[in-house]
Point group: C2
Chain length 252, copies 2
């Protein structure tokens, strides 16, 4: 999703309209807004020349004034704002396939909370079947949540994979965890009090939790068991707990 | 809400039906289930004598067998299980009045995450009006979430109060915080790394955040400013972040 899109900041006190742009759209102090955002500026927002917007790349925000509106919208850069709101650690949340509304809730919240990637995983107790039809819709949810939370980067959503495929990806991460409670489990602090960690993968079970064969397979493959406190959290709450604690730990 | 109610454990691997009971219902090794739960046992669950249920007080769980089903259901205690899943700290989440579906989402999740109390607060930027009509419905949400998460105690929900009324309650707490970002804000760890804290109050703003006059009033009255990381969290996400981090900190 490396194209321009529009970010509506809904937080009062920061009504500045945001646009994600590519570096190629920046030409010295002029930025060209193209594609769907032009329609949004002209027709939805009914903005006029002279009004201000924020154009955002992965790393820089440009505070701009609209100088012309035709088939493209031209912006003049007034100020360059360096603002990095990304977590200093990359967190991938993998989750047993769950129902659509739960998936969407999780995607929305973990985007706000700074996650890098979401991977749905086909697991024994998943009550829904894998399908890719929702990827577009999920992308829009990520976009909206990124706008609202002032993210610099977009969460990546993977197509559903099997547990074995997930396990095969373990070398990509410094730390692989799964949220479960048994005699081997420790709380999150136990695992993340190591500042050298740069990439974390955490797998959360579907509504019915992990099958024992899945627990065994994960342990055999070096995944560590993380417990999330004494209460039984729903599958859609667990990722928010994980992201909150990780964010609080790494942004100290 | 000091009456008996039924807890349906939906977590696979723990299908035991749970009932919250009063101590008065326990008579040596016999427990009487009364009221709405009788209907639930007989008609909804279609349980028979000989089947097992868990009867729970604030402090003890009784593993029981059903010995008779008439206008009341009699249980025989097979085993007393001491299980305390409550946080070692009491956390009150106060929140600017928000829309119904957001309130319900917050109540459900903070119940799971171990909160003690929820107080809706009438604030300048609240877009909805206070009403008490929903207290019954909210009680049912608390009940369901308590069942699912194996809480021992029920979250208390207060009727909506004003900000001044909230401030007047400050002496009841060891630590009063509000979630906001300015030059005085610190992260949660800064405030809670004090093990003597037993009761925490955290106020989260409504969708539009705090009015500056509210920020000033809170600070004047000794409320401390807590920031929740670099990203802008929605009002319904902030309480989950707070509860997750507090739970992780105090249950270490």
């Amino acid at each position: 999703m490396n194209f321009v899109f529009l970010c509506a900041i809904i937080n009062e006190g920061d009504f500045m309209q945001r646009y994600f742009i590519n570096n190629e759209q920046v030409n010295n102090d002029i930025i060209n807004i193209i594609g769907e955002d032009v329609h949004h500026i002209k027709t939805v927002m009914r903005m006029k020349t002279g009004e201000k917007v924020m154009a955002c790349t992965d790393e820089v925000n440009y505070l701009c004034e609209i100088i012309s509106i035709t088939d493209i919208v031209k912006l003049k850069v007034l100020e360059v704002i360096i603002e990095n709101n990304e977590l200093p650690v990359s967190v991938t949340i993998a989750q047993g396939l769950v129902r659509r509304e739960k998936t969407e809730e999780v995607i929305r919240r973990i985007t706000e909370l700074g996650a890098s990637e979401y991977i749905p995983v086909v697991m024994k107790r998943s009550v829904v079947k894998a399908n890719n039809e929702k990827l577009d819709r999920w992308g829009r949810i990520v976009k909206e949540a990124s706008e609202q939370s002032h993210r610099n980067k977009l969460l990546t959503i993977s197509s559903p994979i099997t547990l074995k495929e997930l396990i095969n990806k373990k070398e990509e991460y410094d730390l692989c965890l799964f949220a479960h409670f048994d005699e081997d489990s420790n709380n999150l602090d136990f695992y993340i009090k190591n500042n050298r960690i740069k990439k974390i993968l955490v797998l959360v079970g579907p509504e019915g939790g992990f099958d024992q064969s899945e627990v065994d397979l994960l342990k055999t493959n070096g995944f560590k068991v993380v417990s999330l406190g004494k209460r039984v959290l729903r599958t859609e709450t667990a990722p928010l707990f994980l992201m909150s604690v990780i964010s609080n730990e790494f942004e100290e």
